[in-house]
Symmetry: C3
Subunit: 346 residues, 3 copies
């Protein structure tokens, strides 16, 4: 399996972590146990007791430690065994601790060399919109999907798919948009613009002049850890973007395995911002769309592909696929550089 | 996997195809999408969009095309891309089209070289009985089974199994019958006769003299595409067959994989022909028998065999197995000849 | 797969065998069919008809034979075909018969050389306690588990795990106990003693002086076929064991595969012996404990291990693991000796 190791992965929404129990999740092929160690503080260890490999995620949390429920060994957030009912504490009982940062309600975990775990490398821009919006102006969620993270990232690096897969959202603008993208060392930004076109259907109910033509735009920020921010907006022709509708959606695709993905999302907007009922309805609608449209389609795509990589199947690509192909190339080069570098300390 | 390619397979009952949506099925290891293109007309393509391999069976049908719901590419029944919202139409966007024929309510698909797809090769005799019977004199159905097509074909090439597996049908005649079979280039016909024996139990309720002795007979027509017709009858001793009861049952075993099978069946009779209630009850009874008796037993047999071929496990065969062994040999020789010939055009 | 062949395995509780039908179970990787052939008498054969490998466990029992429901071949308890509707009886139609003994309500089956199937090798001590107890003083049960038998045996060879995994049972005594064990040619006996300590929680409600200190003890008898007897008791300080509470629990772990296990258990006690209501409640509580505590933990452990053997994963072992490591070594040496000796007669 080829994952980037020196990398922050979104593991779980902080709100989804139990208050007083450990939580197991496989991130980029590694079994991890997470638990709360204070307000907005979380620890992560390898999810296997060094004694007999029982999962610590079946254990208990007490005194800031996670304790194995099989024989009572307790581990501190740094992985050191600090409770051993069966003998002396020994250095060799330590297990691997993963650097963890909690930002914007998300638990980020670093799977590579601990000495390189610089919190500044967290792609914070992806969830930054949630900091300033009222809680009634955004929703969050989690889905598990039996399709690989690359298929999900491809999907978002081509916002034009909305015109076909999401009739509620797509109005034809994205398919016709002018695309430009900028690739940096470790991210890719795609901009799509279609001026003087109908408003996307989902925006119309809230517009004063829903039948007006609008300047439509989308911006996608892709990060190689699977964290993608897509901003979509429309504004009356010639007006600044800030005067129109804007939505921010973070789609974070954390690999579980090569072909299964943790899909963590957040979606905010600059209209109906104080309408809790609208927000609740949107939470249901968005989730239904992700489940029935994106996940269903990409799981079907994965079923067709089996274990094959899409690019090895001679797909017939279009110019609109350039961004996703470039992102895949960047990903591959980062994996190659990364594999020369990371180590598993424990 | 060893399938015959130059071959018509029964894919799906026409009645089971959605009116306005595509339908996906794996036939002989190949993913196919089917859709209606007119009364009694059906198209079949590879079930993967050439763009990014999304399943077309998750798409939509419009204007006689099947359109991918991911990015809107539309394909004509000949596999050519005729709608491309993202660029010019190109020859290279074509996908493989499978020759399709609809006969007797069954959608037959050809998996080999298109230039050899002669409709005259469809084993029409298997379903011909449905043409002349009133609709209240036959039933049809579909089952999916986790056992290979060969095990199902073995099963029918030995009608004697009914005496043990189907107590409602078997009355001991078939086990004691005189067997003869004739093998042709691409089929096998087995005849079984047991004169002066009790009527099979299922026929008795409808007989004037149910306790009479009868001349019992069965004829099995096996085709190497898994389409089997079994006619079973009984008539008063010495009388012509036409004066007795006759049943026709088409058991069509289309391989999905080596060890899973699409089981399509139709069963008709020459008595109680206008009795819709009897027909409805028989539909339920037959299906229960196939599910609880044949499929249960053959799935058990497949579980014992695992991936092994029955003939590689040193089975202890009896003379009654001759027909099925001969059918398997014919199948193997046809596969060998076929593999030298077929090609995948796309 | 490495199983001991010359070995009696507990296959099924006699009470769980159908009165008049065959019963299929995979024991140590071998598919077997069991059926009753008299009061407290059971036969076992390979669960595959020699004709076409249909499972005999889908068949019927008649006249002391098991008959295949596919084509009616009947087999005697010695594996000989004694009914063949399709031809003469032949020696070559015989299938493998497994020696079977019924003891203490358990059906034991021998998977090795028939000439070595000495009933004296059944580890009878494990269930002997059920012979003298009234039926209201013990319970029995069966569970299927997706974890290997060795993990279950490890578990019991360290009774200290109860202090952590079974709060209802563990009171800290076992973790602090003095351990001694004796390894014989084909078994291992572990003794644990902790004098002057609190009674285990589950015993207290029935004690006259529940808050008294007690002499706590446990004895584990491990047999290489997975049959384990664990006796746990506590008595007022300095008093003979017979004056205190004693429980006997047989945990019998019959391998299905390397990573799945048939868990057959029986648990008796020397208190509340005539209380049927207590006994019924205990049956539910014990089963809940096995399912939610042991099986859940060991299935988690197996999931972490995958197909790896625990000892190949560099576990950090403690002195309390000595008994289980010694049992594993004895097992491995017995497998090696056994493999040089056993044969499959059929």
């Amino acid at each position: 399996m080829a994952f980037i190791k020196n990398c922050w992965y979104a593991a779980v929404w902080l709100a989804d972590l139990p208050e007083r129990a450990p939580f197991g999740r496989i991130v980029a092929g590694e079994r991890m146990v997470f638990w709360r160690i204070g307000e907005d503080k979380v620890a992560a260890l390898t999810d296997a007791c060094p004694h007999r490999k029982a999962p610590l995620s079946l254990g208990v949390v007490q005194d800031g430690q996670v304790a194995c429920r099989y024989h009572g060994l307790g581990f501190a957030p740094d992985g050191k065994c600090v409770t051993n009912p069966h003998g002396p504490l020994q250095e060799s009982l330590a297990i691997r601790a993963y650097p963890v940062e909690v930002r914007d309600g998300m638990v980020w975990v670093w799977t590579g060399r601990a000495d390189k775990a610089d919190p500044a490398l967290i792609p914070e821009e992806v969830l930054a919109f949630t900091r300033t919006l009222p809680v009634t102006a955004y929703v969050t969620g989690y889905l598990h999907a039996r399709a690989g993270h690359k298929l999900f990232e491809d999907n978002l690096l081509d916002p034009g798919h909305a015109d076909f897969l999401h009739p509620f959202l797509g109005g034809g603008a994205m398919t016709r948009a002018t695309r430009t993208f900028v690739k940096s060392e470790n991210s890719l930004r795609l901009t799509m613009i279609k001026d003087a076109w109908a408003y996307p259907p989902m925006f119309r109910p809230g517009m004063r002049d829903p039948d007006d033509v609008a300047d439509n735009w989308a911006e996608v920020l892709w990060n190689p850890n699977g964290a993608v921010l897509i901003r979509i907006g429309a504004t009356s022709v010639g007006r600044p973007r800030e005067q129109g509708v804007i939505t921010w959606t973070a789609h974070i695709f954390t690999p579980e395995s090569e072909t299964t993905t943790h899909y963590l999302y957040a979606s905010g907007r600059n209209y109906n911002m104080d309408d809790a009922d609208y927000n609740a309805a949107l939470a249901i609608g968005l989730r239904a769309s992700f489940v029935n449209e994106d996940v269903a389609m990409l799981e079907g795509q994965q079923a067709v592909l089996g274990d094959a990589d899409l690019l090895d199947t001679k797909p017939h690509l279009f110019p609109m696929d350039n961004a996703s192909v470039q992102a895949r190339r960047l990903f591959d080069s980062l994996v190659a550089a990364d594999q020369a570098d990371w180590m598993v300390p424990n």
